[in-house]
């Protein structure tokens, strides 16, 4: 097959390509932040107005550790009672699976096309 000769890339074009990549990168990182969709925060479901080590579910041994770390029941309240919420919708899960699978299918297909070209130029057709 014909040997492919790539065009020479000028300085400006090189710079532009780098800029595109950098902008895309920052987009992926900061757009979820700006849209306020980032992160999984813990929250306290049922606050305890008058916490003691017993109502926080701590045994004396555990309470002793908290005291050694400088906490009392009031200051340890949020730390101890906050929990993650692991509920999720099947729809969101399916979306994620589809996106991941699509992504891998996409790159594997395109890679295969490009790879065949590489191999046939490198080794020639038999």
């Amino acid at each position: 097959m014909a040997h492919y000769t790539p065009p020479k890339q000028g300085k400006t074009s090189q710079l532009f390509d780098v800029l595109v990549l950098v902008v895309l990168t920052f987009g992926a990182l900061f757009v979820p932040l700006w849209m306020g969709m980032a992160g999984a925060a813990k929250s306290v479901a049922t606050p305890d107005p008058n916490p003691t080590w017993e109502t926080l579910g701590q045994t004396p041994a555990q309470a002793a550790k908290y005291e050694a770390l400088g906490y009392d029941p009031a200051s340890a309240h949020d730390l101890i009672l906050a929990r993650f919420d692991y509920s999720f919708s099947i729809g969101a899960l399916l979306t994620m699976i589809v996106v991941i699978v699509l992504y891998y299918v996409l790159i594997l297909r395109f890679s295969e096309v490009e790879y065949r070209e590489v191999i046939s130029e490198k080794f020639g057709r038999e």
Partner: protein, 478 residues
């Protein structure tokens, strides 16, 4: 043109294919170990304990061991492929030869992002450490962390710029100290030397699995943090004296070191710190090993673990700069990125343009983005990379069966490690989805966009046949 300083007596530098200035082959297996373990060990000093918060102490231990299996598979698979593809760029070059250019471009970006983000996270942690030490020594007012964050990145970039041997020797020393600090903490608090302070039974009572089994799944997200980055050993391939031997040796010794360090870390921290405190890496235990030392009542241990934490963050950031710049350089050399990046410094023999270019990027992340966001971006890039590895090894064995290429190391029980790895990656994707589903989709959206950009625009500048550089026979089935 000035005279070219090529003082090499052996094969580095001047070579065939017209290489006039190449990377220097000076490293041994110990440096490979230091690069791999150095990047990762910071994960023991901070970050892994988020796994405790996700599912409790037992969940973190289960995640630690399952992630350990995942990474053992990664290390074995990587060792086999890299013992035949010994070149800077690591997994990027593997992907280019085995799966194809677009996959390689994606893998290259995974590497650069995983490492640059990790580097930023390390610099943030180092800045915070200075802040804490200033407070402990009675500094009035709040210390400005920014100059220390910038100093960490600048100093390590400068070290990397000046030469790989000094960089990784420095890493070897500080990594060894940080690892010994964990061993000493374990020996002196577990009751082996002197009195023990472990209270696992009492601390776990009533809190065995606070979220049930879904907490164990969720903990896998941060379970990766115990080992994230060990695959970076392959980036040194072009600078190691005998890659086919040193890379598998250094990588496998590295994963064994980490399995020990991770289990010991879990053991001492969970035996001293209550799980709610240990598991909250923001408001609770930012540096769990350091907190454990504080509760031990020994001033010597506090100092030792304080320095251990600082050294671990430095070693990690250092290795990250090394790896990210090698991957960026390798992509520039192949014109996957502008060819300007594919330059080697004629005296220091380092990919100096890639190193300098990545400095401001790391600084922006370190100064401008929150820590958990940066860590998640890093973990996700890593995870996408681990998902690629089983595909890589399966295709490698199919296109070049064992008898067609001589490997420096053959991993056992193929394809069981590949299938195990793929399954564990699936579990981890689910764990990430439980906490950070939006980021996951945003991130993959990003990779889809850059993939299209690469396929339809960027790839025109790439030489087709010439990018296949290994002296391998034609792959089967083509």
């Amino acid at each position: 043109m000035a005279d070219i300083d090529i003082t090499s007596q052996t094969i580095d530098g001047m070579g065939p294919h017209g290489t006039k200035v190449g990377l220097l082959r000076v490293l041994g297996p110990a440096h490979v170990w230091a690069l791999g373990v150095g990047i990762v060990l910071v994960g023991e000093y901070m970050g892994w304990n988020f796994a405790v918060g996700k599912g409790g102490a037992y969940a973190a231990l289960i995640a630690c061991w399952f992630a350990g299996i995942l990474y053992s598979c990664v290390a074995m698979i990587d060792s086999e492929v890299t013992s035949t593809v010994a070149s800077a760029g690591g997994q990027y070059t593997q992907a280019k030869h085995i799966i194809g250019p677009l996959m390689a471009f994606n893998v290259g970006l995974y590497l650069v992002f995983a490492y640059t983000m990790l580097e930023a996270a390390n610099a943030i942690t180092a800045g915070y450490l200075f802040f804490v030490v200033a407070q402990m020594t009675g500094h009035a007012g709040d210390l400005d962390q920014r100059p220390f964050i910038i100093l960490v990145i600048m100093f390590l970039a400068w070290l990397n710029y000046r030469g790989v041997l000094a960089t990784l020797t420095f890493n070897l020393v500080i990594t060894a100290i940080a690892f010994c600090a964990i061993l000493i903490l374990f020996l002196s608090t577990s009751g082996i030397l002197g009195g023990g302070i472990m209270e696992h039974t009492a601390l776990f009572e009533g809190h065995e699995l606070p979220y049930g089994w879904i907490g164990v799944l969720a903990a896998m997200h941060f379970g990766l943090w115990y080992y994230l980055g060990i695959e970076g050993t392959t980036q040194a391939a072009e600078e190691v004296r005998s890659p086919a031997r040193a890379l598998p040796f250094g990588t496998l010794a590295g994963i064994m070191t980490l399995l020990i360090a991770a289990t010991l870390t879990w053991y001492v921290c969970s035996g001293v710190l209550p799980w709610e405190y240990l598991g909250d890496g923001v408001n609770g235990s930012v540096a769990p090993l350091f907190d454990t030392a504080r509760l031990s009542g020994s001033n010597g241990l506090v100092w030792l673990l304080g320095f251990g934490t600082l050294f671990a963050t430095l070693a990690s950031a250092n290795g990250c700069i090394n790896d990210a710049s090698r991957a960026w350089f390798a992509m520039g050399r192949d014109k996957y990125l502008p060819g300007w990046f594919g330059a080697v410094h004629p005296q220091y023999r380092t990919p100096y343009r890639a190193i300098v270019f990545l400095v401001p990027i790391a600084l922006i992340f370190a100064l401008g983005a929150p820590l958990d966001q940066v860590i998640t971006f890093s973990i996700l890039s890593g995870l996408l990379g681990y998902t690629f590895m089983p595909l890589n090894i399966i295709l490698f064995r199919r296109k070049w069966p064992l008898e067609t290429i001589k490997r420096g190391y053959e991993h056992p029980f193929h394809p069981i490690p590949a299938i195990t790895l793929l399954t564990l990656c699936g579990v981890t994707f689910f764990a990430v989805f439980l906490g950070y589903g939006t980021q996951l989709v945003a991130m993959i959206g990003f990779y889809i966009v850059v993939s299209l950009w690469f396929h339809f625009w960027r790839y025109r500048f790439v030489n087709r046949g010439a990018q296949f550089t290994m002296p391998w026979p034609k792959p089967q089935g083509y």
